[in-house]
Amino acid sequence: MREITVVEALNEALREEMRRDENVVLLGEDIGKYWQGAFKVTKGLEEEFGPERVRDTPISENAIAGCAVGAAMTGLRPVAEIMFGDLVALAMDQICNQAAKLRYMSGGQVSVPMVLRTPFGAGGSYASHHSQSLEAWFVHVPGLKVVQPSNAYDAKGLLKASIRDDNPVVFCEHKFVYGLKGTVPEEDYVVPLGKAHVAREGEDITIIATSLMVDRALKAAAALEEEGISCEVVDPRTVRPLDEEELCASARKTGKVLIVHEACDTGGISGEITKTLVRRVFYYLDAIKILAGKDAPIPFAPVMEKWVAPDEERIKKAVKEIVL
């Protein structure tokens, strides 16, 4: 099967969904034919679908999100792009007070089938306004689904599932997942939201990793295999709803869990996963350890930036501390 990058997979998902359903429209800054999206996810889409359905917006994040909310309530299925994840802060009222709550507050009369895509993550020396990972903010708001693809196959299938979902979905892409290549079917498929994926089977320890950390965990697992340590790597894929069954099943099997995410340690999704494991499989567990980003804004200088996020070496070290 052919291999394509995550960016290409996302582009294909958008293209296929726009062909399938004329209600799917795209909104965002510089997503049209002149720039094609800051990371080229929307490349070629205005050319195919025209400026009515692929709309370059003013630099107005709150209005981008809010326009998507209003459009979604009235029959469209908008996919809005916020150019860099940190800028979701400018759109929080529309995401958290409006998109998330309008169905509830209206007693179920309306639904808000929109997707808000945004690239999170460090690694490009973009400094603190263009690099943070903020998925946990949205996990805390009932009414929002939160998705974090880690590879090309999932990226396509999860985005298609998100567009078809009748709930608002915050779709967290990682800038350094974008270039990862993987095999992706050309035909239509979806990856259901709320289903974790066992990315590698193992016996000694479960590594629950999200987004870019899945790739790093898989590399660490491959290296540890040679040292005789068998790691299972589980990717939640959707952090809300969280696939508690799959996470707990793996934790029960190995009895040891390492949770890895790039977002900073305090208030991160690892706390939520830990809570789930403690509630449900506490008596099967020998150890839970969390390896998250350092509690700092993302710094500019590469030497510091690299240090704040978990890497393969640190994952290996953490595994050994638990297993050995």
Partner: protein, 315 residues
């Protein structure tokens, strides 16, 4: 809409709110309450220019918009009582009444929060329902929010069929307009977005109606948005038991003397409508309000566990 119907709608809003205020002061209604009394000509004048399929968005002071767009008094009253039979099954209350079937996309309790939502509904009109328009109601306070700038600019550059209706009641909560903006007419701001702006007497229902019709016609013809500022005044305070002491007595007296309903009633009489016909309308409205209260009182409360329903669309 016939002028008699406009009179009846304004009266429905007034009587509904008088009743609600009465019940509220008796502690029969939970929460807070933002009354529209005094501003009825705005909602009714604007909605008279709309069809049932057109969309509106509303504010925390939303009873008037709901009634003017054709919402059921019974379901509104039940919602305000927190009953299961209310529009939002008791989950929204006064500040979130929504009726999707009449294009009422919801009262919204974040000041300025509905402005971008109206822009999105306008986008749906443009792409899916070219015969429809969207009206966005908001107050003078909201015109200082970023959403006002972002939303109107976006609607303007995309030529969306959205009519932005600013209800300028001169006070954002307790703050006089002159303390927070250096212009008198908010409609001047339209120039900054390259769209028409107009200021009208918001206590004159026919003036509002005519201005709204012009804007709606523009929007339906694909000529884009308009900003209409309606100067008006709250008869009550901002919310709850606010006595509104920050307003000079002369100012209050001057505006109270310009009651939109009373003055329109005189006009109807001048036009030759028999007074007994108006009396008949007035007693019909009284009855409707009583029936709404009865319905709300007799309706069941939600179950506590209903709090977990409608969070998600479940497939």
């Amino acid at each position: 809409m016939e002028d008699i119907e406009m009179y009846k709608k304004m009266l429905e809003i007034r009587k509904f709110e008088e009743k609600v205020y009465d019940l509220f002061t008796q502690n029969l209604i939970p929460g807070t309450m933002h009354l529209y009394m005094g501003e009825e000509a705005v909602a009714v004048g604007v909605c008279a220019a709309l069809t049932p399929n057109d969309f509106i968005t509303s504010t925390h002071r939303g009873h008037g918009h709901c009634i003017a767009k054709g919402a059921s008094l019974k379901k509104m009253m039940a919602e305000i009582f927190g009953k299961k039979t209310g529009y939002c099954k008791g989950k929204g209350g006064s500040m979130h009444i929504t009726d999707k079937n009449i294009g009422m996309l919801g009262a919204n309790a974040v000041v300025g929060g509905a402005i971008p939502i109206a822009v999105g509904a306008g986008l749906s009109c443009k792409l899916k329902y070219p015969e429809r328009v969207t009206v966005c109601f908001f107050g003078d306070g909201a015109s200082n929010q970023g959403t006002f700038h972002e939303g109107i600019n976006m609607a303007s550059v995309w030529d969306l069929p959205v009519i932005f209706v600013c209800e300028n009641n001169l006070y954002a909560m307790g703050t006089r307009q002159s303390l927070v903006m250096n212009i008198e007419d908010i409609s001047e701001r339209a120039a900054g977005y390259g769209i028409p702006g107009a200021t009208v007497d918001g206590n004159d229902v026919m003036a509002v109606y005519q201005e709204a019709q012009r804007a709606v016609t523009r929007a339906r013809n694909g000529d884009g948005p308009t900003l209409i500022e309606c100067k008006t005044y709250r008869h009550k305070g901002h919310s709850r038991f606010d006595p509104a002491k920050y307003r000079p007595q002369e100012e209050v007296a001057e505006w109270m003397a310009r009651d939109p309903i009373e003055s329109f009633r005189y006009k109807l009489l001048d036009k030759g409508i028999p007074e007994e016909f108006l009396h008949k309308i007035e007693s019909t409205v009284e009855t409707e309000i009583e029936e709404a209260v009865e319905f709300a009182e007799e309706s069941p409360l939600p179950e506590p566990e209903d709090a977990l329903k409608d969070v998600w669309v479940v497939e």
